[in-house]
Structures are given as structure tokens and as C-alpha cells.
């Protein structure tokens, strides 16, 4: 029999629900709101059959470009041949999670704004740029005892005692 290339081919494991998490899905998925421009992760929920994306998009992250009654339009990058295309798909909200990829950036933005405001109040100039980790500072090794290790001459009699 041939391999079969249906839409849900080879999705036996990736679309299956995790161990002991089958059945009704928690309602918070339905209560979340998404705005255009948010980043979302596409993760297929096998319990809901409608509005599933194609298996390629499972695990991809994209931006929201459209919001409809029960689904969200997500713009995902896909490599086709020698170029990357921005693909626009519509996915039901059960197959979408808010992405945390921009969380660190947003927090840093808030903190930097706060630091800049404080510095402006004090009148000093600060740089909020992130610096890469530099070389570690030098230190003295403490509590070190010297142990000299020298090779011992080969003792034929003792070493051949085991097997020969």
C-alpha cells in the first residue's frame, strides 16, 4: 500500500492529547483575547477538530493579522525552496496560545523607561543598552595544597600477578 499524504498524515503523535489530559479542554483557552499584532504560538489541540491548521504550522510562532468570531488569522514564516514566504492562516482559538517570545522584551522596555525617567529626574546620563557577559574577574586560589605526582617504575612481577 502507498504511503498516503493526506492532510493529517503522520500526525498520530503530534496531534494526540497528552497523557491524562484528554476530554474537555480548560475554558481559559476560550476566555483569552487576542489583538492584531500579538505574537502567538500555534499548537494543535487534537480534541477540537474544527479550524485545525496544517501539521506544518504545529509549533510555529507568528503574528496575529486578523480576528474573527471564533478564529484568529496568524502570519507565519514558511521556507519554500530558496525563499521565506509569510503565510497567512486562520486557526481556531483552541489551537493557539499566547507567545512569550516578546515577554522579556516588553519587561525590559518597561524597566528601561523607568530607569530613564529616574535618571532624567536626577539629571545623570545612563545607558540602558544590554552588554554581553565580559571576562570573569581574576581571583586568588585559596586553600590549595600541592601534591607532586611522579610515575612509578614498572614492576613486572606485581602487575602480572592477576592473569598471564
Amino acid at each position: 500500500m502507498p504511503a498516503g499524504h493526506g492532510v493529517r498524515a503522520r500526525t498520530r503523535d503530534s496531534f494526540s492529547r497528552p497523557f491524562r489530559k484528554k476530554g474537555y479542554i480548560p475554558l481559559s483557552t476560550y476566555l483569552r483575547t487576542y489583538k492584531i499584532g500579538d505574537h502567538v504560538d500555534v499548537k494543535v489541540n487534537g480534541a477540537v477538530h474544527k479550524g485545525m491548521p496544517h501539521k506544518f504550522y504545529h509549533g510555529r510562532t507568528g503574528r496575529v493579522w486578523n480576528v474573527t468570531k471564533r478564529a484568529i488569522g496568524v502570519e507565519v514564516n514558511k521556507q519554500v525552496g530558496n525563499r521565506i514566504i509569510r503565510k497567512r492562516i486562520h486557526v481556531r482559538v483552541e489551537h493557539v496560545q499566547p507567545s512569550r517570545c516578546t515577554e522579556e522584551f516588553k519587561l525590559r522596555k518597561l524597566k528601561n523607561d523607568q530607569l530613564k525617567a529616574e535618571a532624567k529626574a536626577k539629571g545623570e546620563i545612563i545607558s540602558t543598552k544590554r552588554q554581553p557577559e565580559g571576562p570573569k574577574p581574576g581571583f586568588m586560589v585559596e586553600g590549595a595544597t600541592l601534591e607532586t605526582v611522579t610515575p612509578i617504575p614498572y614492576d613486572v612481577v606485581n602487575d602480572l600477578k592477576g592473569g598471564y
Binding site: 476530554g23 475554558l27 483575547t33
Partner: protein, 300 residues
């Protein structure tokens, strides 16, 4: 009985998936809940209100609730144990009391949102199917009926509460099929019968039959009614008065409760994280002092 093979092996428990907590308690129907709560995504944060009616053995609860990830928020609530404040002291779980509770909740919500002058609803309860007409200024308050786990049969008291809320002026999509007095043969709602139920006519009829046939049972069954001098003929006027009082002042009253009294503890109170750390440091100090050894600087 000799050796019985254990039915629930360790393997059974290892693979057992526990249902949701409220499903274990048998209190929430998640299939219905998903469909009631789901709001259109292009309506973003607009709340979707549910008109929740729950009937217990001695009380009727009516609430307007909106769902949140943190937990459902109750906008307003009305209980049938508040009805004594409006003049109804007996029969707090019958169809007429359900109607009063629904009416009370509806008027309370409208007053809270300052829509009560615009939407008077159906002042004279006739039992006919009444739907709110939207006025020019504001659209009516919309909620969806949430019956919970009850069997939706014709004449159920939750539909009495629904009728009360409809007559108060709320916009709740409904059909007259389940009101008391709907006959399956005609496929029509008999407004007269429904009106009878709203004004406790069915209770009055039972009172009359008991007085004639079994006076002792009447005495025992309706003892509270007799104590307050409520007879079969005054029931309708009693409910009319209650409706009028409800419409006059539906605001909720804050009840003053004394703080609950402290009971004697029979078990030890759980220590906080800081208390536990402090105890550990103390014990380490004591150990080190006893051993007479070197005090370690970091007590982690």
C-alpha cells in the same frame, strides 16, 4: 469468600484521569458552559452575561455572572430568602417565588446600570410571552439563561425565574415552550394557566382541595400559611403586592454579620516559610553550640 482478585490495581490508578473538580462534584456541565461562555473574538473584552438560576431545597439563587480567567464575576444576585423583605415569607421555593426572585434580580440589575426608567418591562404579569423592545437610547441588557444541571421540563421553576427577569426588562433569548401552561397538543402557551402559576394559583387550588378533603393534612402542610393568615383567596393579591414592592425598591441591602468567633485549635498551625527558616537556624546554632565545633557562617 476466598481470594478475590483486586478490581482496582495499581495500574488502574496510574492511568486514571481525574475529571475536572466541578465535574467530580457534579456541579458544572462543561459542555454547556463552553457554549455559554465563548465570546466572539472580534468582540474582545465585551463581557457575556449569564442569567444563572439555581434552586436548592430551601432557596432560589438568581445571579448575573460574567466569566473571567481569574474566576466568574457576579454582577448582581438575588435570593429567595430576601423575599421576606418584600412581604413574602412562605413558599419561598415555589413557581411564584421563582418569578419574584427573577423579577427582583432583573430590576436590581437595571437599577444598578441606571436603565430602570427606560426599561420598565411588563408591569402587569399576564403570563403571555413578553420580549423587551429596544428603545432609541440604549439597547436592553442581554443575558443568556444558564439552567445548570436540571432537566428542562415544561413548567420548571427556573423558567418561572426566567419569566420574572423577562418581565423586569432583561433581554434573554427564550422560547415559550417551557413555561408552565404550554400544551404540547396545541403547541401554544395558555397565558391564563401561566398567569395562574405566576400568582400562586396552583398553590391556592391545592389549599382548597385539602381544606375540603383532608383538613388535618391542610393544617400540617400549610401551617406556616395559616400562622400568617394567608388563605387560598388572598394568595394572588399577596403576590401582586410583592411585585409592586419589588419594583419600588429593588436595591440590595448589605447584611451586617458579626465576625465569626475564634474556635480553639486542636492541631498545630502550619508555620510560614520565614518561621521555618528561623527555626532551622536556631536548631543549627543549638547543635553547633552543643558540639562545640566551628560555627558555619552560612545557614542555608
Amino acid at each position: 469468600m476466598g481470594f478475590v482478585k483486586a478490581q482496582k490495581t495499581r495500574a488502574y490508578f496510574k492511568r486514571f484521569q481525574v475529571p475536572f473538580k466541578r465535574r467530580r462534584e457534579g456541579k458544572t456541565d462543561y459542555r454547556a458552559r463552553i457554549r455559554l461562555i465563548n465570546q466572539d473574538k472580534n468582540k474582545y473584552n465585551t463581557p457575556k452575561y449569564r442569567f444563572v438560576v439555581r434552586i436548592s431545597n430551601k432557596d432560589i439563587t438568581a445571579q448575573i455572572v460574567s466569566a473571567n480567567i481569574a474566576g466568574d464575576m457576579v454582577l448582581a444576585s438575588a435570593y429567595s430568602h430576601e423575599l421576606p423583605r418584600y412581604g413574602l415569607e412562605v413558599g419561598l421555593t415555589n413557581y411564584a417565588a421563582a418569578y419574584c426572585t427573577g423579577l427582583l434580580l432583573g430590576r436590581r440589575v437595571l437599577k444598578m446600570l441606571e436603565m430602570d426608567d427606560e426599561y420598565q418591562g411588563n408591569v402587569e404579569a399576564t403570563g403571555e410571552d413578553y420580549s423587551v423592545e429596544p428603545t432609541d437610547t440604549r439597547r436592553p441588557f442581554r443575558a443568556l439563561l444558564d439552567v445548570g444541571l436540571i432537566r428542562t421540563t415544561t413548567g420548571n421553576r427556573v423558567f418561572g425565574a426566567l419569566k420574572g427577569a423577562l418581565d423586569a426588562g432583561l433581554d434573554i433569548p427564550h422560547s415559550e415552550k417551557r413555561f408552565a401552561g404550554f400544551s404540547k397538543d396545541n403547541k401554544q402557551l395558555d397565558a391564563e394557566v401561566h398567569r395562574k402559576y405566576i400568582y400562586g394559583g396552583h398553590v391556592a387550588a391545592y389549599m382548597r382541595t385539602l381544606i375540603e378533603d383532608e383538613p388535618e393534612k391542610y393544617q400540617s402542610h400549610f401551617s406556616e400559611y395559616i400562622k400568617r393568615g394567608i388563605e387560598a383567596d388572598n394568595i394572588e393579591s399577596l403576590y401582586k403586592k410583592v411585585h409592586a414592592t419589588i419594583r419600588a425598591d429593588p436595591t440590595a441591602k448589605k447584611s451586617e454579620k458579626e465576625p465569626p468567633k475564634q474556635h480553639k485549635r486542636f492541631n498545630l498551625k502550619k508555620l510560614t516559610y520565614e518561621e521555618r527558616k528561623a527555626r532551622l537556624i536556631e536548631r543549627l546554632h543549638a547543635l553547633n553550640a552543643a558540639a562545640g565545633g566551628v560555627d558555619s557562617e552560612e545557614e542555608d
